[in-house]
Amino acid sequence: MMFEYADQIHRCFRCGFCKFPSDFTDLNCPSYNRFRFESFSTGGRLWLIWAWLKGEIEWSNHLAKVVFSCTTCKNCVEQCPMKFSEDIIDWIVGTRMDMVEKSLVPTQISEFLDNIYKYGNPWGLPRNERDSWAEGINRYTSGDEYLFYVGCAGSYETQGQRMAKAFADFLKSTGKSFGILGSEEDCDGNEVFYVGEKGLFQELVKKNIDKFNELDVKKIVTLSPHAYNSMKNKYLGLGEIEVVHYTQLLLEMIQKGEIQLKELNAKVTYHDPCFLGRYNEIYDIPREILKNIPGIELIEMERNRQNSFCCGGGSGNFVFDLLGRSEDSPSRIRVREAHGTGAEILIITCPSCYCMLDEAIKTEKLEGILTLKDISELVKESLEKI
């Protein structure tokens, strides 16, 4: 809880290194970039938290907005020159835990958490619609090689469903045995953890692990980097179960020669999702996949890898979107940056990014100019090329 950090948080000097990527080209803290008041920078946020702890300011909806509009993208952790840098996210999440525990959260956030508690997804949609996208895809049965863990965005959001379908179709075409949990799948809890509802997170972890054990799951492949992150790094008691992100499996199959990719001529750029990149240091795998598709030219955005600019969707923001409704919304900045590279396709590997960036392409009127594609959609196209 917060009190664990209360005697540390004053160590932030408010120097602002964390506003930038490592070469300082642009503002790289999505919430600061969106609002521009110092209060929304990492330093401002930490100082306000400290002020709240000291009783110098009272809780307010605006304070909560400051605290919850951090997407936990980890740019600040990457750039802060201080020894405590690794703790910054814990400080922010610790504060959220405190606020959640005291029921001091804005309505959107309590609804977000309530929905996950009641329906297993943040939108409060019926559980039995979770696999509405999955016609022809089997339920996982003991003995299948992989449990394909689809996650909430993959199950309910149109863009996520496209991704889930593309990857499932691809898996099917390779003959791998796999299955999904369908309506029995529950939220993975990554966002619940980062939004600060520790109790609910622990409950979800327990439910999910029990389910995996009941079905004798040995390997899980996740669609979302968020699910990958929570299962890989936060699920205590997962035991021997191996967790991979779908890009890892894709590359493995390419490298083992299990699939033959055909030429696809296109200029693409790639957006590193925070929970794959900064959280799990998976930067090369998606790029290797792209390299293996003949004819694909990868043009990097200026901010890539450790310096990637978050789409604005982290920490539940792909649902309640505290950073939306502005031309300075991170997703809109990011698609403009992608377009600026001259690429015609923006490749993503995360369903939350897919939703955020898809909306942004429409708002920026880039439809037909910049196409958003999940990497397995691209792989699938390449496989199907005659």
């Binding site: 005697d7 000097f13 408010r14 521009r36 008041f37 209060s39 502005s326």
Partner: protein, 462 residues
Amino acid sequence: MIEMNTIYKSLVEIVDEEYVSNRKEDLYIYSQDPGMMEPHEPEYVVMPRTTEEVEKIAKLANDKKIPIVPVGGSLSLSGLVIPHHGGIVVDLKRMDQVLEVNEKSRYVIIEAGVTTGKLKAYLEKNHPDLRFSIPDAPPSATVVGNIVIHGQGRLTQQYGFNSDMVTGLEVVLPTGEVCKIGSGSVSPYWFSLAPLPDLAGLFLGWFGTTGIITKLGLKLYPKKKIRDIEVFVVEDPNLVPDVINRVTHTEMAEDIFIGAQPYPPVFKDIIMIGMLLTGDSEDEIEFKRKMIWDALRIHIDSKEGGFMMMTPSIKQDLLEMPTSSTTRFADVMKGGGFEYCGPIIPVEKFPEAFQKLLEITTKYGITYGNACRIIGRSHCMMFSFGYPFNRADPENVERTKSALHDTNVASLDIGGVPWKPEVPAQKMIMEKMDKNTLELMNRIKKVLDPNGIMNPGNWEVE
């Protein structure tokens, strides 16, 4: 209350609701900087995007007689952006465009909110042969904030204070008029302040008390391909002025800085003099290195000093621009703060200043970091008495404040002038200042800012 509502509404009309705040949290953040001065809240924070918006804000403030405080990165650390009398804080960082680079006449025109980090990145990407005199402040400091306080950077030893590199300004006066200063007031080219009367002096060093700078023309310099560093180490502070004199005589170093600190123990009792070498070829670097070695031979032979062997990581740290190690000093006590009084002093006063540093830190039982930069060819130097403090420990904060007070007194005693002085230090300077000079300053302020709305509390004669 009604008046406050009309002001809020007027500000919203000027810059849009998104960029005006009177919310408690924003007022709290803008009531302080990372230094040690007492906070004071403004009534509003506003973030203009254009000169026209700044002009309207100034007119509104002047009309209603409300204070305005221009804010850049808030990193001067001496409370210069604290709205001591409330009013409107004008955060200029949305004015963040690099407007023009003239490669042949080597100058850049930028908006007031361009950060040192952004300008560095912009030049590296678009004009790799050009550079500016970047300070070692965090990259979120603004270039304009830096010149307003007569900052110093990596090219200061060669070309003087960063404010000496100004080629032009666009300024919104406290009464709302917009003025151009320098060649840009006559011609489309912002190449220099001369040959016109030097009006830039009305705004540099004034801490925003005479107007808001909205655009800046700044000299750029050739960027050499290779950079290297040599560090000369002595134990006796009395040797430092001679070492500096010899090295500056060679005119071979780009930047010269001095550092001393008691921790870690390997650094205790030594004074390090860093000399940046730059060149377009290894031969050029070698030539410069040899010239400097030869100049210091006398001290090497007498065994009073010597060049330091550096691990690649130390070297990399010292070559980094801006260096993050200065910023990391704030975490020395795990306390999130440091404050420095950096008086500008004659170079020969280094030993005296060093002695004062040791006396003051011993008296108050605090640690220190000393980081100096040579200004011009040894024309003067910035001597930093840097004190880390723990903002969570009020007793430690009070002790460090007392040390800072003594430091300001000591700086004036040895013949120096506190740089970017806090309000109390400004008062000490003004007390010592020639009375007619003080009267002139006062008169200028009154003419430019008849209602006393600009960053009140600063350079204020009671």
